[in-house]
């Protein structure tokens, strides 16, 4: 699967980009993913309400939870038009619970055809809303009852989104639920559902039992790899996703977070274009990131990685395995976030070091 022949021509000791693309499978994958380099995201809190209450929820931290709701479809339509005007091509509709305002989701979709919705899956989002739908899973039904105060949640999620091509189940590994992923994946796979992984990233100030430590991250790593191997048709993930999201260092330390909250530059990229709108349609650059009020040192969030790791193309174009791993990561991200994008077979099956770090 991997090729470790010496570079034909080196630039200051590095592989040339052209050499990395010489392998036909690599070149094809590069051409496949680069078609989506036009994606430019912003995120939007749709409501300040939720129908369940979870331990460690990001929404009910910080100031954004106190923003009053704007439920006027006309205001949302205007916002979407303005966003399009300034170059936004992809929307992430999130907190607190978007399924409570289906009319606003439909309004957004009318203007912005590409996007995704983060939901607890308790209520079905109308089929007319053609976004990817990320359904949060925090463990088995017993754990959901304890941590999320919701009974039979997984069954309900599976029933709501049975056979729905929009749906991706997002299993968030916490310190307490690593051992439950097998049974959850089995149930999702039995219904031909798609599953990807998230790693619990503590909100600022959170010191509760869900927060990871080194030991739980290593257990998570093993569980991810085993689940990928057992359910290859269901799991959307790659070895490099595992390496990046279970590392002892968080994403910011490994890659340098590109979101405005940690990136002062407005020259180019997310620091220039990204906004995180609250439910009242205001935004605050100093707080803007994909999962606001996360403790940046503990951030291993799948949504953050999708942008932060992907943006680091340049440093991953270093050698064949590192570049293949990056392509796997981007291929995974697109399959999770973009309707109609099909994930390819991973090009690199070993755990590759993030540039400048050891995978441990």
């Amino acid at each position: 699967m991997t090729n470790r022949t010496a570079p034909a021509d080196k630039t200051e000791g590095k592989w040339k980009f052209g050499d990395l693309l010489r392998d036909a499978r690599v070149r094809d994958r590069w051409e496949k993913v680069r078609k989506y380099f036009f994606l430019r995201e912003s995120t939007y809190d749709m409501t300040n309400r939720c129908n369940i209450r979870c331990d460690g929820c990001y929404y009910y931290e910080g100031e954004k939870q106190f923003a009053p709701e704007n439920r006027d479809p006309g205001s949302w339509r205007d916002l979407m038009r303005q966003e399009k005007e300034r170059g936004i091509t992809y929307v992430v509709l999130a907190g607190a619970e978007p399924s409570l305002v289906p009319e606003l989701l439909e309004t957004c979709f009318e203007i912005m055809p590409l996007g995704s919705i983060a939901t607890n899956g308790f209520r079905l989002i109308p089929p007319a809303v053609g976004y990817k739908i990320h359904i949060s899973v925090w463990g088995n039904d017993e754990t959901s009852r304890r941590v999320r105060n919701a009974a039979n949640l997984l069954e309900r999620q599976l029933d709501n989104y049975d056979g729905d091509p929009r749906a991706v189940f997002v299993y968030t590994f916490t310190r307490q639920n690593v051992h439950e992923v097998g049974e959850v994946a089995e149930r999702i796979a039995a219904r031909n559902g798609k599953l990807t992984f998230n790693v619990f990233s503590a909100p600022v100030g959170y010191e509760g039992p869900l927060r990871h430590d080194r030991s739980s991250l290593l257990l998570t790593r093993r569980a991810m790899l085993e689940t990928m191997e057992r359910y290859p048709e269901s799991v959307l993930f790659s070895s490099y996703n595992v390496a990046a999201h279970t590392h002892g260092q968080g994403l910011h330390a490994l890659y340098g977070c590109s979101y405005p909250r940690r990136n002062a530059s407005t020259d180019i990229g997310l620091g220039r274009s990204f906004r995180q709108y609250r439910a009242d349609l205001t935004w605050d650059r100093s707080a803007a990131c994909c999962v606001p009020d996360t403790d940046c040192d503990d951030c291993r969030h799948y949504a953050a990685g999708s942008a932060v790791v992907t943006a680091r193309l340049f440093r991953h174009a270093a050698d064949p395995d590192t570049f293949r791993s990056w392509l796997d990561y981007v291929d995974t991200y697109l399959s999770v976030w973009v309707m109609g994008y099909e994930k390819g077979e991973n090009l690199c099956d070993r755990l590759v070091d993030p540039p400048g770090f050891s995978v441990e």
Binding site: T11, E12, G18, R34, D267, A311, L313, F314, A317
Partner: protein, 91 residues
């Protein structure tokens, strides 16, 4: 070669690389404004710029630091940056 001619040659070659990599259809090497702001006016983003930078590295045999991306705003600025790196390499 004079400095001005040197830069002009680089600009033409860099223009072609940008056209090829970004699949630009409404511009040629000769009509590409060397002072056009690639980010503000052409709308290229960080991933496009990273791709162009990788191809430029291959073309000129110099390394381009990620932190320098914001400096690479126009063809002329890229050409001057490349020329400086080539001079450093030759020194």
């Amino acid at each position: 070669m004079s400095d001005v001619k040197d830069i002009e040659q680089h600009i033409l070659r860099i223009a072609q690389i940008v056209i090829d990599e970004l699949r630009l259809e409404d511009v040629t090497q000769e009509t590409f404004d060397p002072d056009l702001d690639l980010v503000d006016e052409l709308g290229i983003d960080s991933m496009d710029l990273a791709t162009v930078a990788l191809v430029l590295q291959d073309e000129y045999g110099v390394s381009i630091d990620e932190d320098d991306y914001p400096k690479l705003k126009t063809l002329r600025l890229i050409a001057e940056y490349i020329r400086t790196r080539l001079q450093e390499k030759a020194a």
